[in-house]
């Protein structure tokens, strides 16, 4: 992978780091794996200068405020002058494992995997809820499973701080989101309606996908994003079956989490987590 940032500059600017290995590059940032002399395996994110600094600040703030064991910690951050201008950089805890997206390419998760994923993501999202933060982009691409089988929630890049002013223009017809996972109120940019129940919807869709191996909103492939949006707003996800004792309760939970209107979802992440915890208990998983 070629990067716009000079690699010799990297070594010079981050003398505590070694073994740089590019992990990914988007329009907004360069992500590299590296080794830190004290913290071991880490991730270095270098945010390009054109990125809104406030959104970067809020991403950092979100992770710091949530302080969940299921969200990689930011170990250090700063600003560095690079050959492409001044860049904010973050050094984060590295999760070694695979993204849920990659795992799902091989098929659905086993029942205990779905339950563990749900419970651990709810733990992370409950931390966000307590901090008045909505992740807004829960999906398999933003979830990792480490080698111990535990799941991690990544990328708070479009997280919404409910007690801070919005960074998305109110007049925009569509909000920041990933179509096929975001709930109708987020798709339509009904800002006032976005709270932690938006994350519950997205997690419900993700858990459904993990149980069935496919995202039902994409099956069959939509003609375009408008058709996908209509499906999100109108199609009720097929009732899901897991081979567990509490299959009815699990089915009810997923159906409730993915209700179109947020008033019909669990009122809080905590309420949903308690529900899932009871299911896990009945399966002897907790």
């Amino acid at each position: 992978m070629t990067t716009p940032i000079d690699t010799t500059w990297l070594q010079r600017s981050f003398p505590d780091l070694s073994d740089f290995c590019p992990l990914g590059q988007g329009g907004q940032k360069l992500v590299l794996a590296a080794k830190h002399h004290r913290d071991g395996e880490v991730v270095l994110k270098i945010v390009y200068p054109k990125t809104d600094p406030e959104s970067v600040r809020r991403e950092m703030l979100a992770v710091q405020q949530i302080q969940s064991p299921r969200v990689p910690r930011i170990l250090e951050h700063g600003i560095a002058d690079t050959n492409i201008g001044a860049c904010v950089w973050l050094r984060e805890e590295k999760v070694s494992g695979e993204t849920l997206r990659n795992i799902l390419a091989a098929g659905p998760l086993p029942a205990d995997g779905v339950l563990r994923l749900g419970l651990q993501m709810m733990e992370a999202l409950e931390g966000a809820e307590r901090s008045q933060i909505v992740h807004r982009d829960v999906k398999p691409d933003n979830i990792m499973r480490d080698f111990a089988g535990d799941f991690w929630l990544l990328d708070f890049g479009i997280a919404r701080h409910l007690d801070l002013s919005s960074l998305t223009a109110t007049a925009l017809p569509y909000g920041k989101m990933t179509l096929g996972y975001a709930p109708p109120e987020q798709c339509r940019n009904f800002k006032r309606d976005i709270d932690s129940r938006a994350d519950l919807f997205a997690l419900g869709v993700t858990m459904h996908e993990c149980a069935t191996g496919k995202n039902a909103f994409f099956d069959p492939p939509p003609r375009d994003h408008l058709e996908l949006l209509k499906r999100v707003e109108q199609v009720v996800l097929p009732r899901v079956t897991l081979p567990i004792t509490a299959k009815e309760s699990f089915r009810d939970l997923i159906a409730t989490m993915t209700q179109k209107n947020r008033i019909h979802r669990p009122r809080t992440i905590g309420e949903a987590r308690l529900w899932l915890h009871e299911i896990c208990e009945s399966e002897g998983l907790v």
Binding site: D193, N261, I263
Partner: protein, 401 residues
Amino acid sequence: MELYLQFGYGMMEHCRTLLRSWGGGSVILSPRDLTDDQLVRFGSDIRDIPGGNVILDPQFYLPHSDHEKLCNHAYWPTDYATTLFWQGQALSRLLDNLRDLNNRVGCSCFVLPGLFASTVDDDWAETQRAILEEARAKSDNASLISTIAISADAVKDANQIADLVERADAWNAPAYYVVCEHPNGQYLVEDPNWIANVLDLCAGLRLAGAQVILGYCTHQMLAANTAGVNAIASGTWMNVRSFPPEKFNATYEEEIRQRATWYYCPEALSEYKIPFLDIAHRLGILQLMAPPPELDGGYATTLFSGAQPSTVGFGEQAAFRHYLHALHEQVRHRNRESFDSAIADCEATLTSAETLLARLRSANIRGGLRDFTEIIDVNRAGLGLFSALRSAVMRRQWDTL
């Protein structure tokens, strides 16, 4: 679930008689039908009945109406030049006057004034919030009941209902008095969407921890049991069994002029004019329409004594008391063990009514606009939608409601 008596024209003696026979109960008083002095005296009468309880509906739905009887109450504002009576000192004074009246009447709770909302919007919601906040500053929060009065169009709009549930969550009132206008002035509502949304609204309020009294109901709202509603209210004439906002305007013409006596057949969930009971009598099927013992208060016994029903002097007084007693018992016997049993109970009532109605209709015994035949499927569809939206959460939370 309980049945409250929704006070209306000519109901004083009905209330006294029924509450005595029930060993108590609650009456929602109507300033539109009683002067200040009458409210105080009647409130005292009811409270003298063991287990008797009164609350006062301030009927502030259309504050700019000039309904003569409402305007004569001390609490009713006289100056409409500005909207200021919804804020500041004017609002404070309104609530002081109302609370004073509530105290004199001996009300157990303070029903707050609430505007009739054609649309659930920011302006209406802000007024609701302001009233509740001002009342909280003056009274024990636990005694407050916030009024939610909404138009048929608002009820039919799922987005407005969702918006209302969200806003109410923030208001966090301990109880709500909910009155929903029927579409097109229908006595029995023919729109299943309306039914589902009323249930959805009530369930949303209950799940948020509030008590709910659903005002101005017919027996169609026995279904409210499935939403965990604490009480439904009903009365004698049609205009206290459904909520016609225009009733609070000066120009409203009393329906009382169009008197007819209707017999409520509780197992058919339908009402019939007496000549149809004559037909049933002559066809030998009148006993099918008799109330079962558990719903029978004895008010309609003469109809089934063997004589032709129209000759036994069954009048409106007995008809009203029979209706309210039977409804009281139907409400009392609703199954509340679990959400699923409440739904099953409701469906069983509909199925049983359907069977009886088919038998009666085959003999051309019909209740016209008060016949439940066409409403069976309306309620079924409404319950079906409500279940699809709420069943999982209601099932889990039922014991906490």
